[in-house]
């Protein structure tokens, strides 16, 4: 087996690999999309029908409403600068989900609201945050 044959074999394999990766990258798979557009709220009108998208933003303080009937159901306003959008999420909420938390939601945009099936929080703010001035706390309230 000469050098040429080895080169041909290896390049064929490499080519196959590249084609395969390209195919998975650019062939949409509706049931299980691995690639999702990350949009800002001002771009939300560009959403195609049934397209899954991601949004990021802050939880509007005081907007979290948890359903009386089912604690897993929750509504909140996602704020992004001037814009905001109501989000409906059903499922287990991450531990760090609260007012002003930075969140990423994934799901569908339906009639002006966002129905999310994934909710992630970013960054444990307490631990990267400012130091506390304990001297100024009223110790009796602790």
């Amino acid at each position: 087996m000469n050098k040429k044959k080895v080169t041909i074999a290896v390049s064929t394999l490499t080519l196959l690999a590249v084609v395969w990766i390209g195919f998975v990258t650019f062939s949409p798979n509706q049931e299980n999309p691995g690639m999702v557009r990350f949009l800002s709220l001002s771009e939300i009108q560009t959403v195609k029908e049934n397209e899954r998208i991601r949004l990021g933003g802050l939880v509007y303080p005081g907007s979290i409403l948890i359903s009386e009937k089912n604690q897993l159901e929750c509504n909140f306003q996602l704020k992004q600068g001037e814009h905001s959008i109501p989000v409906l999420f059903t499922g287990t909420r991450p531990d760090l989900f609260k007012d002003d938390a930075e969140v990423i939601v994934e799901g569908n945009y339906i009639d002006g609201a966002f129905v999310a099936d994934q909710l992630q929080t970013k960054c444990a703010s307490r631990f990267e945050g400012e130091l506390r001035n304990e001297a100024s706390y009223n110790t009796e309230s602790i």
Binding site: I21, A124, L131
Partner: protein, 654 residues
């Protein structure tokens, strides 16, 4: 006083590091051995100073000296002593210092271990190591100094404390293990650069480079597996691998490192693929630095990422410098990297190794592509596209299965050429066992990827057993040894080979575990105390919701009886909903945390998460997952580690 000492030792170390490089350049120019000795000693001093600085930071963490910003940010008075120690690598600057600390320890080992060997390579090996040290010294001196004083206009009485998610034994071991891996690849990198510069591309240094790569690889594998294990036990999404950018960052050098460990064998035995091996080890190190960059720069959002920082540009400069040097050296040294022989046949072990390399590199590229795609797509089309686990799974499952297949085929092929008879002799039993499992899967109605993966694991498993059996048989007949004695001496006398096969067995077990995912199920539901819910062959009965107060948190513990459909009690699960720092006057600072509970068997895990609680109505919101065969991932991990350790164990002289 001591924090100043820490800062001073770091700046001194940087200064001495430059002196050390200078001394080595003088040695290379004037060939005066005294310069070498001086440079060698200067390098010892650099390493000792960084180790001293690390110990000082550790001391301050233990003392809770909140005048140091790092100590105030990552520990508090309530942090248990053990986690004060682990806080050393919990934050950005501390973890950079820790990187440097490990590099310094490795450097000292290299300095003393090869004091009297590799006289031509050593100056260059040390120069490369010091060069990398300088980069990290610049980072901890200028950009992210861990000894920075606290920036607050008040006396800090108590620090912020360590994230409860990180207060976990695995989480304490996972980062240092991974660091030992990442940093460990610096040594083979230094060997490779030294070999290229001095044109000593022969085989003298292969044993050392292979050993060091294997050590780094062992820690890298261990670190990755521990990370998965921690995520599974602690994060509560029921999985162990999310294809998160930072996970990918640790996986990529592992892949190229694995490829290197295999292809270096052909260089050792056949003098083939020299250029390729050089490229692999250089790429592996570059990927290690790239991984450190991804974690720290804030380019990618990820659960692992540290806070956004200005480290990015410096890392990019460093990576570019490394790449330029590597590419220049490889191209200019091509004539010295010619193969001594060539591959003779497709059905040879050589071509098996070659194929293995192509597959590893393909997986690495696919992972790299998916990881940087969001950045690329935003630059090209302006659309920010996020790439999730489904992409990585879809791309990698077929390639991974191919890799598994060749894990079985490779060792059965003979060097140079496999004869037709040998082919039939070696492959018939593994193929038959594969087909048998395929038929069993068909009968059980399996119609997903496991219809391919289970037969493949059977094929590879039998192939490895046959390899052992052949070795044992020949010893039993030749030396009249007992079966166990033969097995023992067989492994003892060919540690690297049979250790490798044991590591392959570990991979097979892990693939069984990965396959189990195809059958996973999950359900989220609300359950009132006393009620039960049937799901996937089990009945979950909520028996109790008890509040418990502990030193730094309050917990509600759900007691869930799990019954099987024959009405036998399988287990009782106690997942917890905790609120940390519940006494903190500022409600913003209180942090909820779900502590899950898992019932593990070799067939399946019953995984329970306590999502929420309604105390008045006595309702618990639960998420139950039935995860199949996960146990095998961890078991395979152990086997992989043990096999690698056997390979590494120094051989007795016979």
């Amino acid at each position: 006083m001591t924090p100043v000492l820490g800062s001073i030792s770091l700046s001194l170390a940087l200064g001495v590091a430059f002196i050390s490089i200078l001394l080595f350049s003088l040695f290379l120019k004037k060939s005066d051995y005294r310069f070498f000795i001086a440079g060698w000693r200067a390098t010892v001093v650099v390493s000792a100073l960084t180790i001293l600085a690390t110990l000082i930071l550790l001391y301050e963490l233990l003392l809770s000296n909140f005048d140091i910003s790092y100590v105030a940010h990552y520990t508090s008075l309530e942090t248990p002593t053990f986690y004060k120690i682990t806080a050393l690598w919990a934050g950005q600057s501390g973890s950079l210092l820790f990187w440097l600390f490990i590099l310094s320890v490795y450097t000292l080992i290299v300095l003393y271990q090869y004091r009297n060997s590799y006289s031509k390579l050593m100056p260059w090996i040390i120069i490369v190591l010091v060069f990398v040290q300088i980069f990290f010294l610049i980072l901890v001196n200028i950009v992210e100094n861990p000894f920075m004083p606290t920036d607050a206009d008040f006396v800090v009485i108590n620090g912020n404390g360590l994230n409860p998610l990180l207060q976990n034994l695995t989480m304490a071991i996972h980062p240092p293990t991974l660091y030992l891996g990442y940093v460990g690849f610096t040594i083979p990198f230094a060997f490779a650069i030294a070999a290229l510069v001095t044109k000593e591309t022969g085989s003298v240094w292969i044993r050392s480079i292979r050993r060091w790569t294997l050590i780094a690889w062992l820690f890298q594998s261990g670190g990755i597996i521990l990370g998965g294990w921690w995520a599974y036990q602690e994060l509560g999404w029921g999985g162990y691998w999310a294809w998160d950018p930072v996970e990918n960052a640790s996986f990529m050098p592992w892949l190229t490192g694995t490829a290197f460990l295999h292809s270096i064998i052909i260089q050792e035995k056949k003098g083939l693929l020299k250029t390729w091996n050089m490229v692999l080890i250089l790429v592996t190190f570059t990927l290690c630095i790239f991984g450190t960059f991804l974690t720290r720069s804030g380019v990618m959002s990820s659960v692992h990422a540290f806070a956004v920082s200005n480290l990015g540009p410096i890392f990019i400069v460093f990576i570019v410098i490394i790449l330029v040097i590597c590419i220049y050296l490889i191209i200019s040294r091509l004539p010295y990297l010619k193969s001594e022989k060539r591959i003779e046949s497709f059905t040879s072990r050589e071509s098996g190794f070659l194929l293995n390399n192509v597959i590893f590199i393909t997986i690495c590229f696919a992972v790299f592509w998916g990881t940087i795609f969001p950045v690329l797509s935003e630059a090209v089309s302006g659309d920010k596209i996020t790439v999730g686990a489904p992409f990585f799974n879809r791309v990698n499952i077929p390639i991974g299965l191919m890799l598994l297949f060749f894990t079985g085929v490779g060792p059965l092929l003979a060097w140079r050429r496999t004869s037709k008879d040998a082919f039939i002799r070696n492959f018939s039993i593994p193929i038959i066992s594969g087909i048998a499992i395929f038929i069993v899967c068909l009968i059980f109605g399996i119609r997903n990827t496991t219809l391919i993966s289970f037969p493949l694991t059977a094929f590879v498993f039998t192939a490895i057993l046959i390899e052992f059996q052949r070795g044992i048989n020949s010893r039993v007949t030749r030396f009249d040894e007992s079966f166990l004695k033969a097995l023992q001496t067989l492994i003892a006398r060919n540690r690297s080979r049979y250790g490798g096969y044991i590591a392959h067995l570990g991979i097979v077990f892990m693939f069984i575990g990965f396959s189990g995912q195809a059958f996973d199920t999950e359900l989220e539901f609300a359950l009132k105390k006393g009620d039960s819910k049937i799901f996937d062959g089990y009945s979950f009965e909520l028996v109790s919701i008890d509040p418990v107060e502990r030193p730094n948190h309050i917990a509600w513990i759900a007691g869930i009886n799990v019954w099987n459909l024959e009405k036998h009690l399988v287990t009782t699960l106690y997942p917890e909903k905790r609120v940390y720092f519940h006494l903190d006057p500022n409600p913003e600072k209180r942090q909820p945390h779900s502590e899950l509970d898992i019932h593990t068997t070799i067939y399946k895990d019953i995984y329970s998460i306590f999502s929420g609680v309604d105390i008045e109505k006595q309702i618990a919101y639960l998420k139950i997952m039935i995860n199949r065969l996960v146990y095998w991932v961890w078991f395979g991990g152990y086997v992989l580690i043990i096999g690698t350790m056997i390979s590494l164990w120094p051989a007795k002289e016979y």
